[in-house]
Symmetry: C2
Subunit: 201 residues, 2 copies
């Protein structure tokens, strides 16, 4: 298995983290992002969207970090991380979409704009970060919600965690969200948890 | 089963369409969007994000149109629309995320900005529409790709179809994309296909 990767990308990290939690061996293929390798003809053959991460597993080539989590969970994670019960699958999936929508447009964009520019309106992204962090804080403040879904670790947590934990790099501080900080700590205590620049144990 | 719905929303329509394709009876609950009912305390109990659609099925309350498609496919659609094979599930899921990312930020935003304003930069959204429509056109131009994934109708198609078919309402014409037009026609010929304002047979 090969992961086309950028170390500083939270989307790549969520795949690296999950591969580590599942204890899967794989080959890491760093993509020269600043050199625009992800827009090269060779890379566009792998992912015509020109985005990382991309996972190659035998004949399968998958784009999108959320879709890669679904694949890995289903293929290598048994029922634990992405169960096959319809209702449970729906509940986990809605958090994958929260990661792709509200978290991406809020804390993730604020960080990318702060660190790399890319013409992103950091102020607007910081404003968008607050309602979604408030909502997740309320959710996790309930004693039955130690995790985002099903009261156990699932790919819902892995999907949402990186750009929430990295929010301070985009000027979005986490101190107002104690339940979120505790949830981050729970994730950091999962067996085989790994760090990335900006996220340490 | 209850669907909290807005007739003009492509995200609500994709759920209505899929419920019809699956031949499922349900109660339609129109939400007074202009009256901001989706931001009322009662509605926020259903979906704290204040977004429609929301599906209620017994005790289950689900937000996000993509997650609702996953749930309905798994619960009522057998293996056809969202198969349980890991690779096939991953491939379908990557298109659900394309609907939530590139299609939402391109043709969907262009239409919402054109029709309703909401401070959306219509010009920027129209520009973003082109690369994703080009990519889907190339994908569907291959004879083996009559559908977005697995060469059969899946929730990948249902998820991406509405805001592509509605693109002209946002000033994004579909004439440059003949394979997309043919794909839309294939979807319109599915048994129990239903229309919405802006999408007719």
């Amino acid at each position: 298995m090969k992961l086309y990767d950028l170390e500083l990308s939270g989307n790549c990290y969520k795949v690296r983290l999950f591969l580590s939690l599942l204890n899967i061996d794989y080959e890491l293929v760093p993509v020269d992002f600043l050199g625009k390798e992800h827009k090269s003809p060779e890379f566009l053959q792998l992912n015509p969207l020109g985005q990382i991460p991309v996972l190659e597993d035998g004949d399968l080539v998958l784009r999108d970090s959320q879709a890669i989590l679904v694949y890995l969970a289903k293929k290598y994670g048994g029922e634990a991380w992405f169960p096959s019960d319809a209702a449970e699958m729906g509940i986990v999936t809605q958090w994958l979409l929260t990661a792709a929508n509200e978290i991406a447009r809020g804390p993730a964009d604020a960080r990318v704009g702060t660190k790399f520019g890319f013409g992103i309106d950091v102020n607007a992204a910081q404003k968008k970060a607050k309602p979604i962090l408030n909502l997740i804080e309320q959710h996790l403040s309930k004693s039955e919600n130690q995790w985002l879904a099903l009261n156990r670790p699932t790919i819902a947590d892995i999907s949402c965690f990186p750009y929430i934990a990295l929010a301070p790099e985009g000027g979005v501080m986490l101190e107002p969200y104690p339940a979120i900080i505790q949830w981050c700590d729970r994730i950091k205590k999962l067996p085989n948890f790994i760090e990335m620049p900006g996220i340490s144990k």
